[in-house]
């Protein structure tokens, strides 16, 4: 079965001749159709860089990314044409993810009219419905980002990403900057979207979040994959010390309470 999204021999090196930083060192990663996977690691592990390579917004120093078998890079442009809609991204910082001068409904309407064959009033209605599904009321949809909470902003970002009807959603630490209650709401939303057929690549430093949502997880440290496998396996039987360290750091120490 061709993986839906696949990265082969991905390496990303930043810097110049004097100082090099190897953010990602020759990794392979694959997302099968209908699957939801996680990339877990601490800050500086390279997980966000890898996510951005898969999303096509970071050029890898070497290696290739394939969507359904086709190389996403055609010349200097990634994901051209119809392919662009298939893979969308949600970012970590809710305060930076939305255009501060655009009201929530406008941000989503823009995406809707661009990707779906509707415009004007109809596009706006589609956008409002989409926001409603994300739990953003009609009244909140009219607000500017600064009047919305972190959790609400994240959900507007998700609505915007979903306007393109993507197959894959790459979420880069979507829960790290929001309250616990907002985290639960967002994760529950992701769960519903997965049930509707969306594939999610979840990047996080919190294994608890990964454990809830993913089937397969890649553990990343300093640019390398330290361990990879089925999520339940990793949790019940972590092989590497680093993985064990991550597990024992989950608030609540679930391994102890179980």
């Amino acid at each position: 079965m061709t993986p839906r999204l696949e990265g082969k021999n991905i390496s990303v090196t930043f810097g110049d001749i004097l100082r090099k930083v190897e953010a990602v060192k020759n990794v392979d990663i694959a997302l099968e159709p209908g699957q939801t996977i996680g990339i877990v690691g601490e800050s500086g592990s390279g997980k966000s860089t890898l996510a951005r390579v898969l999303a096509g917004i970071q050029v890898p120093t070497s290696g290739q990314v394939f969507y359904e078998g086709k190389n996403i890079w055609q010349g200097k442009v990634a994901y051209s044409g119809q392919m662009r809609k298939k893979v969308q991204m949600v970012f970590q910082d809710p305060y930076e993810s939305l255009n501060p001068r655009m009201r929530a409904v406008h941000a989503v309407t823009e995406a809707v009219s661009f990707h779906q064959n509707v415009s004007g009033e109809e596009a706006r209605n589609v956008a409002l419905n989409l926001l409603e599904r994300m739990g953003i009321t009609g009244q909140d949809a009219l607000k500017l980002p600064r009047a919305l909470s972190g959790g609400q902003r994240q959900r507007v970002s998700v609505a915007r990403a979903l306007s393109a009807s993507p197959e894959v959603l790459i979420a880069d630490e979507p829960t790290s900057a929001i309250d616990q209650s907002a985290q639960s709401q967002l994760l529950r939303l992701f769960n519903e979207l997965i049930a509707d057929g969306l594939s999610i690549i979840l990047v996080s430093h919190d294994l608890g979040v990964i454990r809830y949502l993913t089937e397969r997880v890649y553990v990343m440290e300093s640019g390398n994959f330290v361990e990879a496998g089925d999520t339940t396996q990793i949790f019940e039987n972590p092989q590497m010390e680093y993985t064990q360290k991550l597990i024992s750091s989950i608030p609540g120490h679930i391994t102890k309470s179980r």
């Binding site: 601490e42 900057a177 309250d179 209650s181 639960s184 994760l187 529950r188 919190d206 750091s249 989950i250």
Partner: protein, 334 residues
């Protein structure tokens, strides 16, 4: 536990912000909490619940945000902090009460080395000379488990990781051996591994120096792990105060909901309980209990009147839910 001496006594505190010459906004209208000597108290609430402003009451920095305590009493070790004059604050701030700010925001002064940072904190005590300061600084870095203190002393904040910066801030906070440390979301924005280490560090400090710690957070599992007692705040009011070991017998719908919505309790891809809606924004508080739009146990009585005050269930457990009796057996095992 043996009865401990009461260190902090907050009763019905109200905090108001001055928006302009004529406009006032109440951001906390009922806060009650008691912290004993050497106790670790977790203060939980969502953004906007007023928990940060309440902390500022302990450091006397409300004025900088054009806010003031408009009612109630705030006693620290017998000192009335509501009416405290600047001289009193000079005595208390930094010496008897230490403050650790939110990791993502403040942190150490970017133009000062660790050494200078600690020196500033220690200079509050006029009896220490240069040598004593140097000695104590190294001692502090060791207490906060920084591995190469001699190197770190000379470094600037930009050379330190997030976790290390917070350790330096903690070192500054405990520099003069305060009775109370207020840590406002000290690990928000840091990796979970670093978070776990910092929590362990705070526990160690409490154990060794019998320092009382008020730990502010939005993360219930984290607080539950680490603290002796928990006080929960929602939309400007404290709604429950109980020992953390009693969390399963919580008697307030908000606490129950926070507990049930823990991600680690949910089966993979299974049902994840969430609290519906958002807390009411400051300035648009509704009548009655401010949780009534999000509550699973709401009754008509919850929709009217002022926000409920604490009801004493036992000596250790207070709740602000008027229906506490009827919700007692709905917290099942989860």
């Amino acid at each position: 536990m043996a009865t401990k001496e009461l260190l902090v006594d907050i009763d019905s505190v109200q905090i108001t912000v001055k928006l302009s010459r004529t406009r006032r906004l109440q951001i906390v209208d009922y806060a009650s909490m008691q912290v004993h000597r050497g106790e670790m108290m977790g203060l939980i609430g969502e953004s906007g619940s007023g928990k940060t402003m309440l902390c500022r009451g302990f450091t006397g920095t409300l004025g900088r945000r054009d806010a003031y305590i408009s009612g109630g009493k705030l006693l620290f070790d017998g000192i009335d902090l509501v009416k405290a004059k600047p001289e009193t604050w000079r005595d208390v701030r930094g010496k008897k009460i230490g403050y650790v700010p939110q990791s993502a925001l403040a942190g150490p002064n970017p133009v000062l080395t660790t050494e200078s940072q600690l020196r500033e904190a220690l200079m509050n005590d006029k009896t220490l000379d240069k040598n004593a300061i140097r000695k104590r600084s190294m001692e502090l870095l060791e207490i906060v488990q920084i591995r190469r203190p001699d190197i770190v002393m000379k470094q600037y904040p930009y050379q330190l990781s997030g976790g290390m910066k917070q350790r330096v801030m903690i070192a500054c906070a405990i520099a003069l051996n305060p009775d109370l440390v207020v840590a406002d979301e000290p690990t928000t924005g840091l990796d979970v591994t670093v978070q776990a280490e910092i929590m362990r560090l705070l526990k160690d400090i409490r154990a060794e120096f019998n320092t009382a710690i008020i730990l502010v957070s939005h993360d219930l599992p984290l607080i539950n792990d680490v603290c002796d007692r928990i006080t929960v705040m929602h939309a400007g009011a404290t709604v429950e105060s109980l020992p953390s070991s009693e969390i399963k017998n919580s008697k307030h719908p908000y606490t129950i909901a926070l507990y049930k919505s823990r991600i680690d309790l949910a089966p993979p891809r299974g049902e994840l309980i969430t609290i519906k809606g958002q807390p009411p924004a400051v300035g648009s508080w509704q009548e009655g209990c401010r949780f009534n739009q999000r509550c699973d146990f709401v009754t008509d009585a919850c929709l009217v009147g002022p926000h409920p005050r604490f009801i004493n269930l036992t000596e250790d457990h207070q709740t602000a839910c008027i229906n506490h009796a009827s919700i007692s057996n709905k917290v099942g095992s989860r």
